[in-house]
Each structure stands twice: as C-alpha cells, then as structure tokens.
C-alpha cells in the first residue's frame, strides 16, 4: 500500500492515520469494567497485605451498603447526563425536600407518606424539566439556582429546624407504628445478609435499564442527547423527552432522599449535601459522555461499584476521610480525561 502511494501519487500523500489503537478501542468499548476489575485485583492484593480478605462477606456487604444511596440517585441522574444536559445540581435539595415532606406527612400512614415523598421529586423534576427542556435554560445555572431556592424555602418553612419522625407523629398507635416503619426501611436485612437498600438499588438499576434499553423513550433520548437539532428535525418532541429525563432523575433522587432520611433519622436541609458531585462522578466513571448520547445504565452501575470499591480500598490503606477527597479528585480528572481522549482519538467527538 505504502509503496504504491510513493510511486503513483504526487508528493502530497495522505499521512492521516486510519487504523485505531487497539487499547483505545478496548477502553472505549469496555470502559468502566476494565477499571472495576483492576480495582478488584488491587483491592484483593491490598487487603491481603493488610491481613484481611477483600471478598469477605462483611466487606462486600459494607461496600454495597455504602454505595446503595449513591446508586439510587446515579441511576436517575444518568438520564440527565445522557440527554446532553450535563448534570442536575438540584439533587441535594430534591433529596432533602422529599425527606422533609415524607416525615411531615407520616401521620397519614407510611405508604401515603412514601407516595407524597416520591411525588415531591416528580414535581421538582417537572419544574426543572419545564425550564431546561422547554425553555432551554442553562442546565447548570438553573438547577443550581433552583437548589438554592429550595434550600431557602425549606429553611424559612421549617425555621431551620430538624424534623424527627417520632416527634412529628401523633401519640397514636398507628402514627407511631408508621414512624417506626419509616425508620426501619434503612435497617432491614433480607435473610440477614443483604440490606434492603442494596436490593432497592438493584431494582432501580433494573428499572432504569429497562427504560433505557427497551422503550422508545430511551431510543429517542439517545438521539436527543447526541444531536438535538437532528432529533428535532426528525420529528421527535425534544422538549417532552428532556422533561421526562428530568422527571425520572428527580423521582429516583427522591427515593434516595427518603432512604437517606430514614438512615439519618432526621430530616433537614443539609440532607444530601455532596450527592450531586458524587453521583456525577459515578455516572461519568461509567463512561457516560458529558455532551450526551453515549453511555449505558450498566456502565453507570459499574461506575457506582468502582466508586465504592475505590473508597473501600482507600479505607484499607488507612487514608482519612478528608484526604480521600484529593485522591477522588485525581481519579475523577483522570477518568474524564481518558474518556474524552479516547472519544477524540476515535474521531467521535
């Protein structure tokens, strides 16, 4: 081939590379699972060096428990990132608001309170979706501003106080019982092994996977995320699709918020602080592109697991909570860099 070029063509030969690097292609295809397996091997070595077993029952359990809440939120946040709207910064206060309203309405019985909490998330998602999907607001600025507004509403509405389910509940058997049920949802172990939170997380991932892979909504969302204008001209109602993405995200965040409130036993405006960035880390770790249109729920699940395993390994080494921030930041930047770099090398962005 190259010989022919030299003889036949003029001195200006095309020197652009057409073959792609195998490693880049492998990483682009497999993405997070390569990292997860590498982390698992690393974890096994480090745990063995510290005289423990990484695949111990209690260790796996602790990883799953620590990751469960992040997983619930990340399973929903995936849709916002996938639709090309970067991230939903109003997640912390969506979680806090859902927890607040659930605790406030605990007197109506536990199932009703749960429904009210989830409906809160749906309503917040609707407002966000209307502003960002329909009116095309800047997604980060709007959702961050809305986050502050919700924070202000909660602080003024409840006077900056914390709510406890058993003090909010009236002194009747029914109300007290529902308050106790509310507390217990984060502390139930099914079969004494796996916690209810982890089960719920897995169920939500399955649900998210079905919505993403098996419905027409998921397919439309892919088109909207990869090219908004093309999707509009091919007859997709982009505004509605983006709005639905936000609604799913906020609903999942609300479920996470309810579990978080039950775990902490208090509902306050501080619930969910830091969940926006952590869940975004998980989603991006999973290989979802920030510009949208590429990624999968399975990858997000891998990202959540990788985040949990990374934290676990850092604890095995004996790094403090705050020093973890620096390591997490570096890992985050590295992963995002590799993602964008491989996309660019494959000529897809």
């Amino acid at each position: 081939m190259s010989d022919q070029n030299k003889t036949v063509l003029s001195p200006k030969t095309d020197t652009r590379k057409t073959e792609v690097n195998k490693g880049i292609l492998l990483f682009n295809r497999m993405g997070i699972w390569v990292i997860t397996i590498a982390l698992l091997i690393l974890g096994t070595i480090i745990a063995a060096a510290n005289g423990g077993h990484f695949f111990d029952k209690s260790n796996i359990q602790s990883i799953l428990e620590a990751v469960a809440l992040y997983g619930m939120v990340a399973a929903g946040l995936f849709y916002v990132t996938y639709s090309g709207n970067w991230t939903d910064m109003s997640i912390p206060l969506t979680m806090a608001m859902a927890g607040m309203l659930t605790v406030q309405s605990i007197n109506l019985g536990f199932p009703v309170a749960l429904l009210i909490g989830i409906a809160t998330g749906l309503a917040i998602g609707m407002i966000n979706g209307f502003m960002i999907g329909h009116l095309r607001a800047n997604p980060i600025i709007w959702s961050w501003g809305f986050n502050l507004l919700l924070s202000g509403i909660i602080r003024v509405g409840w006077g900056g106080k914390q709510l406890y389910a058993d003090t909010v509940a009236k002194q009747t058997d029914f109300a007290q019982h529902s308050a106790q049920t509310f507390y217990s949802i984060s502390r139930t172990y099914i079969g004494g092994i796996i916690s209810l939170m982890a089960i719920v997380m897995l169920c939500m991932f399955v649900l998210s996977y079905i919505i993403h892979a098996k419905t027409s909504f998921g397919q439309k969302l892919k088109l909207v995320g990869s090219n908004y204008e093309a999707a509009r001209f091919s007859g997709i109602n982009c505004q509605k699709i983006v709005m639905m993405g936000y609604m799913i995200s906020s609903t999942f965040a609300a479920v996470g918020g309810i579990f978080y409130t039950a775990l902490r036993k208090t509902a306050s405006y501080e619930n969910g602080t830091g969940y926006d960035f952590t869940c975004l880390t998980c989603v991006l770790l999973g290989g979802t592109l920030l510009s949208g249109g590429k990624g999968s729920v399975l990858g997000t699940f891998g990202g959540v697991l990788a985040y949990g395993i990374l934290n676990n390994i850092l604890s095995w080494i004996g790094i403090g909570t705050y020093t973890k921030y620096a390591v997490q930041g570096m890992v985050f930047l590295l992963i995002v860099f590799i993602n964008t770099y491989t996309e660019r090398k494959l000529g897809r962005s």
Partner: protein
C-alpha cells in the same frame, strides 16, 4: 452618545444599579442602618465574596465556570497565616506565597481546560476536590491558624478618614477597578469577551484562545488567593469553612455574577456590575438579619433573573430566521407593533 431610552432592555442592562438603589431605599426604613460603623462592618465582612464574585465573573465572561474560587481563597488564607505562624516569615512574603499558589491553581485549571480538553465545569470540579484534600492535609485540625495584631489593625483601620470603609475594602475596590479597566480598555481584555462570544470565530480571527483562557483562569485564581489571604489577616483567623454562613461563598459569588448581568454562556458582562450587585447583596444581608430569610430573598432574586433571561432567549430563538420585514407586517396586522 447613544440616546437613552427607558424601556425593558435599558432596565435589564442596568439591573445591578437598580438592585442597589432598591436595597438602599429599603435600608432607610431599617433602624440603625446608615451608621458609619454598620456600613464599615457590612462592607468589611463581605469583601471576601467580592473577590470571589469578580474571579467568577471573569471566567464566566470567557465562557467557563470556575468552581475552585472558594477553595482557592480558603487555601490561600490557610497558607498565608500558616507560613506566618509556623515559619515566621514576614507578611508580604506570606501573601506572595499564597498568590503563587493561586497562579499554580489557575495554570492547572487552564491547562486542563485547554490542553486536555476537559470541559471547564468538570475540570474545576475535580480541582475543587483536590484542593479540599490538600487543605485538610495542610491544616488537619479544624482550628484556626495564626493571629497577628499589627497587620490586622492596618487592614481594619480606615485608610481615608472621611470614608466609612476599611483598608481591606479599599484594596479590593482598587483591584476591581484595575480588572475592570483591563477588561474594558485593553486588547487582551477585549479578546476575553471575544472568546466568550464564540471561541472558534475568535480563533479564526487570530486570537490565541488557549492562552487567553488560561489567562482568565489565572486572573480569577490570583484574585481569589489574594482576597483569601487578606481576609485571613483581616479577620485574624482562618479555618477550613471560611466565609461559610448558611450559603457557601461560591454560591454567593455565582449569584452576584448572574444578577449583575453576566451572560451565562459568556461573551458579555462586567466586573463593575458584579461589584455593585455584591454591595447590594451585602446591604441586603445587613437588612435581613436571619440567615434563612437571606437565603430565600437572595435565591428568589436570582431565580427571577435566570427565568427572565431564559424566557427572553426563548422568545428570541422563536423569531430566529424569520425575515424582519415580514415579521413587522405580521405584527402590524395583529396590532401589536
């Protein structure tokens, strides 16, 4: 000179001033508001946010978001007071070390954005985590570091006797004016606006867009580092949650930037408007003493600004591509023109 016309566009362009005037009018009805002591205290306590807001504004004009501003300033304060109390260096060198840290952080931010092509929001988010970790490494206990009375008194004193402002605030004012003049009257400054408007067009027009982007990040980080270091000396103490009273300083900086009229996608805005807005916000904080009410009022104003801009842009996008003469005819038929 352009003809002045009082309409919606004029009001929107000058909304920072209107905000300030409204707040000052409310201040008349607040007891003990317009006293020299009160104004000095309010401006002094909120000067840190002015530095942050100005840094944030510069990056936003260039079309990027700089989330590191808060941690940059806190880290600078910790370094400044830490080197003074641990190594016994003189103040000027301490401040220089802190500013140098700001330059490094800005450079890293800029290189991440321009060379590694990570989007600014994500790059600075990662840097934010790294800075937070380094902060805890440098000052593991959450106690405040360092105390020195002489420098503290200089910053707290009035530099000009008849003005009710502390020296710290005046230094900040001078810095803001310098940045404003730089952005408005120099070629490099105008290039910042150009790459904010459309980075590709700017590049084709011969602007070195990577260099300018790095420059904006460096200026932003240096402003924050200088402000943080001075704030540490001014308040006589620095800890990891510096300036955090209910709302994070980053959030206040962003609020001031947006209410001040900076375009969220870059290309327009002014540091001076941000400064005016920040003064108005500081007065607002003085009027509403409770943190809860402060958060609610500030957030409502911010949300209204964002919603207004969003709806205006939505309306503009609807008539995009329609021929103006046909549109005018249509409006005349409907009787709207």
């Amino acid at each position: 000179m352009k003809k002045m016309k009082i309409n919606g566009a004029f009001l929107n362009a000058n909304r920072a001033w209107i905000f300030l005037i409204v707040v000052m009018i409310i201040g008349v009805f607040t007891p003990k508001f317009y006293t020299a002591y009160n104004i000095k205290a309010i401006t002094g306590n909120n000067t840190l946010f002015i530095w942050l807001a100005c840094g944030f504004t510069i990056c936003m004009i260039a079309g990027n978001m700089d989330l590191t501003v808060q941690y940059c300033s806190t880290f600078a304060a910790l370094i400044c007071l830490g080197t003074h109390s641990r190594q016994k260096w003189p103040w000027l060198i301490c401040i220089l070390v802190a500013v140098l840290m700001g330059v490094i952080v800005g450079m890293i931010n800029g290189l991440l954005v321009t060379k590694l092509k990570i989007s600014a929001f994500i790059a600075t988010l990662g840097m934010q985590f790294i800075l937070r970790g380094l902060m805890y490494l440098y000052a593991p206990d959450e106690q405040s570091i360092g105390r020195d009375m002489a420098a503290n008194e200089f910053l707290n004193d009035k530099l000009i006797k008849f003005l009710p402002f502390s020296a710290y605030f005046l230094i900040c004012l001078i810095a803001v004016l310098i940045v404003w003049i730089f952005l408005r009257w120099t070629r490099t400054g105008r290039n910042v606006y150009m790459i904010g408007g459309n980075i590709e067009t700017a590049w084709l027009a011969g602007v070195k867009s990577s260099r300018i982007t790095i420059l904006t990040f460096v200026i932003s980080s240096v402003l924050c580092a200088l402000g943080g270091a001075l704030n540490g000396i001014f308040s006589g103490a620095a800890n990891i949650s510096m300036g955090e009273k209910g709302i994070s300083p980053l959030m206040i900086g962003m609020t001031a930037t947006i209410i001040g009229g900076t375009d969220t996608s870059g290309g327009s805005g002014s540091v001076l408007n941000t400064f005016i807005t920040m003064i108005a916000l500081a007065f607002l904080k003085g009027i509403f003493k409770k943190t809860e009410m402060q958060v609610l009022v500030i957030s409502i104003i911010m949300i209204l600004c964002i919603a207004y801009e969003t709806i205006a842009a939505f309306r503009r996008s609807k008539i995009l591509g329609i021929r103006p003469n046909l549109r005018n005819e249509y409006l005349r038929e409907k009787g709207k023109a």
